[in-house]
Amino acid sequence: MFTTAFIAILVVMFVLLLRVALGPTIFDRILAINTFGTAIVLLIALFGFLTARPDFLDIALLYALINFISTIAVLKLFRHDSLGKSVDE
């Protein structure tokens, strides 16, 4: 049962990578990477259940937070050409 969802998520991730490779604009790529992070969180949680080791949920929790920060960091770098400037400038 977990295997079904696991394989589905793997397929999803493969297609997302395809969109990263194809994506005409940089925003398509960032969107696909952001969604890829969501898929990874689901994959880690499913893997924890698949191997009956709930410790993996902590990693999934951390990944959910890091994924958000990385997306914002990439966008900030793209918009200001630097990570140091404040948003108001």
Partner: protein, 105 residues
Amino acid sequence: MFVVSWILLVLGSVFCLIGTLGLMRLPDFYTRVHAASIIDSLGAILILLGLITQSQDPLVIIKLILILLFMMLTGPTAVHALAHTAVLSEKNRASDQNSEHPQEP
């Protein structure tokens, strides 16, 4: 309970697959965001609900709920930041082109 969990997991997987199909089929960036938000919202909600109904340990359930909560809070913020930046860069490019045109002889 087992049947409910199974149905939720399969439905979540189906919605994730539909979302990726949309990501490939839809014509431009602004419409693809809608497809990606299917995976971010109902796909993630249903799969995590399926895992919640599966587990007995209360700590595991709390962790799954926290994952769901963080995703629902951060997902829209990231998507909004992305769309906002896309609009700004499009405007910048348009104004660049406008200012370049008069310079051309």
